[in-house]
């Protein structure tokens, strides 16, 4: 057997006195992709940074990280500088922060080449152009004189990859390289990484929270939890022989579909009038003036959208970032007035409603936002935060009744009355999202808009929240408008789905039909780009059988 390029042996890392990584071992051979999967806080990113000896302050590593015959932990900073970039390249999660905003992309790619190889500007320039071509940004179409802000997220990530592979490193480390990107872009970037690794015979250490992505990419996988690798093996076999309860749980959670007892509510069969009805809704944004006296240019974020939500229905809205789905949600919640069109809620006009009417409407129309950190005032306690919408009921119910309602609703979302006097930061991410759901339910609404409500959560927590949402719907008969970029989530809990692209709804219908037999080209693109664990594993198995 060949010698591994990177070999981590019983590696421990303490930060201060807290053990973060507790003895992990892994081998990485040239030309191989090793996937490290785990949820947030499992220590997977720190493992990667440790391999490059980019350790945080007050970190004390123990054990061995052998790269090409030398223990990285024994090398001093000067020797490491020779290795980093030259022998090891790194692709970061957030391409905007990984690039220097005041330097051109060409400059940033050629910088490393000149620094490490000491070649002149002209030759470095030539290599830089070749590299940018390799990552799909040919110099004829994408001038190397551009600045990072002039590129899209996917293009920026390509530049970061070009920088990482500029010196043909033998080891490439990619830390959540596609997490900040849309699914269609994610598919492109993953294919690019795979091609480069194959062509250049690099070893790739891929870090991700997404099992489907890792299963598609990696030859071998290690599942990390609490600073330890709980299970490892070649991809297809690992998924077949998984034994550790955490891995099993992770696999189940990744493809989790909540059990639904009620039949889906379909628009075509509905005999009652719709709960929410949207007609030709247009939302425009005015941009900055380009000339002093010219009219301000206008962007149509939502372009003539119409749909209905029926009582008890769970409607999904999928689309990539910037397609207008959040703008649409804000218009529906009467947070921003639309430029044109109508929204009717329970037969009443919601657009241009008088403040008194709006208060009545808002009792029945609530929202759950994406960010479990940002959706609560950090200086208030849970009791106050959850009870906030009760102000909508005015004096209709007494103070004691309000307190009862708060306790009941906390109970319904699986929190206890002991949590009433806690501050938001005392809850975990999943608990905070439960709190957000409790706040949305406290007035007993008929429709809840969930704007990316599970996107910021780890998979196992996400599965629990999805279960909770489904259970609440069945118990309380509420309707959902479920907005997400994640097709698998939308598929798991919606009856019908709308696909949005560039402000327009391009396809609409029962969820299964739309995703299994997409008609519009954009839907087809979206469905094919979405990572799918089952299909990835099928491909893997075939491949492993051949070798």
């Amino acid at each position: 057997m060949k010698k591994p390029l990177l070999s981590i042996r019983d590696f421990h890392l303490d930060i201060g006195s807290a053990p973060i990584i507790k003895g992990i071992s892994l081998d990485l051979h040239p030309g191989e992709i090793f996937g490290l999967v785990g949820e947030s806080g499992s220590g997977k990113s720190l493992t990667a940074f440790s391999a490059m000896k980019l350790l945080p302050h007050a970190a004390s590593p123990r054990g061995e990280i052998v790269f090409d015959g030398q223990n990285v932990l024994d090398l001093d900073d000067k020797q490491m500088c020779g290795l980093r970039g030259r022998q090891m390249g790194m692709v970061f999660q957030e391409p905007m922060t990984a690039l220097n905003p005041v330097k051109t992309i060409g400059n940033q790619v050629s910088e490393g080449i000149r620094w490490h190889l000491g070649i002149d500007a002209q030759n470095a320039d030539k290599r830089m152009r070749k590299l940018l071509g390799m990552v799909g940004l040919p110099a004829e179409r994408f001038s190397p004189g551009r600045y990072p802000h002039e590129l899209s997220g996917g293009q920026r990530q390509r530049v970061v990859i070009a920088m990482a592979i500029a010196l043909k490193p033998r080891l490439l480390i990619a830390d959540e390289p596609t997490t900040a990107l849309d699914v269609t872009i994610q598919a492109q970037i993953l294919t690019l990484l795979k091609d480069i690794v194959k062509k250049q015979k690099m070893a790739l250490l891929l870090i991700s929270h997404d099992l489907a992505v890792v299963a598609d990419m990696a030859d071998r996988i290690g599942i990390m939890r609490d600073g330890a690798i709980v299970e490892t093996g070649s991809t297809a076999r690992l998924f077949e022989t998984m034994k550790h309860p955490y891995s099993l749980n992770l696999r189940e959670a990744s493809t989790h579909v909540p059990v639904r007892k009620t039949k889906p509510v379909l628009s075509a069969q509905s005999k009652v009038p719709p709960l929410l009805s949207v007609q030709n809704l247009v939302c425009e944004y005015k941009l900055q003036r380009k000339k002093l006296f010219a009219a301000r240019p206008v962007v149509k974020a939502v372009n003539s959208v119409s749909f209905n939500i029926y009582p008890g229905q769970s409607l999904g809205l999928v689309g990539e970032s910037g397609c207008g789905k959040s703008t649409l949600a804000r218009a529906l919640l009467a947070l921003e007035p639309p430029s044109d069109g109508h929204v009717d809620f329970m037969g009443q006009p919601l657009t241009h409603a008088r403040p008194d009417d709006l208060i009545k409407i808002r009792r029945d129309l609530q929202v759950v936002f994406q960010d479990p950190f940002g959706s609560f005032n950090p200086r208030r306690r849970a009791r106050w935060l959850v009870g906030e919408p009760l102000g909508l009921l005015g004096k209709e119910i007494s103070k004691a009744e309000k307190q009862d309602r708060i306790v009941d609703v906390l109970d319904a979302v699986g929190l206890s009355h002991n949590d009433l006097d806690k501050f938001p930061h005392e809850f975990s991410g999943g608990q905070r999202q439960r709190l957000a759901i409790a706040r949305a339910l406290v007035t007993g609404p008929k429709l809840v808009v969930a704007d990316e409500a599970v996107s910021a959560l780890d998979v196992s927590i996400r599965a629990q929240i999805l279960d909770l949402l489904v259970a609440l719907r069945e118990k309380l008969g509420i309707s959902y408008l479920f907005i997400s970029h994640d097709l698998s989530v939308v598929r798991a809990i919606t009856d019908e789905v709308m696909v949005m692209n560039a402000g327009k709804i391009v396809e609409q219908g029962p969820t299964g039909d739309v995703f299994d037999h997409p008609k519009h080209p954009y839907t087809r693109l979206l469905v094919s780009a979405a990572p799918n664990l089952q299909q990835a594993l099928k491909r893997r198995r075939k491949k492993e059988r051949q070798t």
């Binding site: 808002r362 936002f369 960010d371 005032n377 906030e388 909508l392 006097d421």
Partner: protein
């Protein structure tokens, strides 16, 4: 019960961390001493400051007069102590004016946006363009010199500072999801401002207030120096400097001590402001 306990532990945590911040400890000590000095001077000073003792003029520091005497034979330590009253009073009221007028203006601008925002902030720019000294000269020209007019002049100068800080911080908070959630909960803009925005920008305002306080002391000294602040016989640090100017060759100590009083209190307040900024920064707060 648990509520009180939680509060208590939060206070303890803050107190514990405050001892780690050197600038907070040093600045706080200096400022406490200056405050104590001003407080004591209400009841007692080593010598009365309104009695002239010409034969004892321009004495060097000695056991009888720790910091020496000035050209009228008054005790400099006593004058500095009483002068501290004046400096602190002017600075407190001036910061108060800035806070109570500037913060509501800034918040209103952030909440209303549009034309109201434009108008308020441009007006602020206009006020900001006049140095405190210039507005003091104008006010004095109309109402005559005096400590109250100095306070008004410095207070007006503080308004745009607080308005800008409040507006900037509020704008970045307005996009946060908890503000949207409060709007969905049917709260009016005023209530959202009071319940959500104000508590979250309080940190910034406290820090800014400390820094404006030190600038207030400095501005008061400047105004008294040119004769626009407190009028004789009330002692003030700025005028003590002015009086000492002609005699600096003869008796340098009468310029040195009031000058040091100004420098030390401004330095102390700046250190306190820095320390508070570190302490109140949520990014540095320990997760419990």
């Amino acid at each position: 019960m648990s509520l009180i306990k939680a509060r208590l532990s939060a206070v303890k945590d803050l107190a514990g961390r405050s001892l780690h911040s050197m600038s907070f400890v040093i600045g706080g000590t200096i400022f406490a001493l200056v405050g104590l000095m001003a407080f004591v001077s209400f009841f007692w000073t080593p010598y009365p400051v309104d009695v002239l003792d010409i034969p004892a003029k321009l004495q060097s520091p000695s056991a009888a007069h720790w910091l020496g005497t000035d050209h009228f034979g008054r005790d400099i330590l006593s004058m500095i102590m009483v002068g501290a009253q004046n400096s602190i009073a002017v600075a407190i009221v001036a910061v108060g004016i800035g806070l109570f007028i500037g913060v509501p203006l800034g918040l209103a601008a952030a909440v209303r946006r549009g034309m109201a925002d434009e108008f308020l902030m441009r007006f602020n720019d206009l006020v900001f363009a006049f140095p405190a000294l210039l507005s003091a000269v104008m006010i004095t020209a109309i109402f005559g010199p005096g400590a109250v007019n100095a306070i008004i002049a410095i207070g007006i100068f503080n308004i745009p500072v607080f308005a800008r800080v409040a507006r900037g911080a509020a704008l970045s908070l307005m996009t946060r999801e908890f503000i949207l959630a409060a709007r969905v909960a049917g709260k009016s803009r005023t209530r959202i401002t009071v319940e959500h925005i104000l508590p979250n920008i309080a940190n910034l305002l406290i820090v800014q207030g400390t820094i404006q306080f030190s600038l207030g002391i400095l501005a008061e000294a400047g105004l008294s120096y040119v004769g626009l602040g407190a009028q004789p016989p009330d002692p003030s640090w700025g005028r003590m400097l002015f009086d000492a100017q002609t005699m600096i060759g003869l008796a340098p100590h009468i310029a040195l001590f009031p000058g040091m009083a100004i420098i030390i209190s401004v330095l102390g307040l700046n250190l306190l402001g820095d320390g508070l900024r570190d302490l109140l920064d949520p990014k540095l707060q320990r997760r419990s």
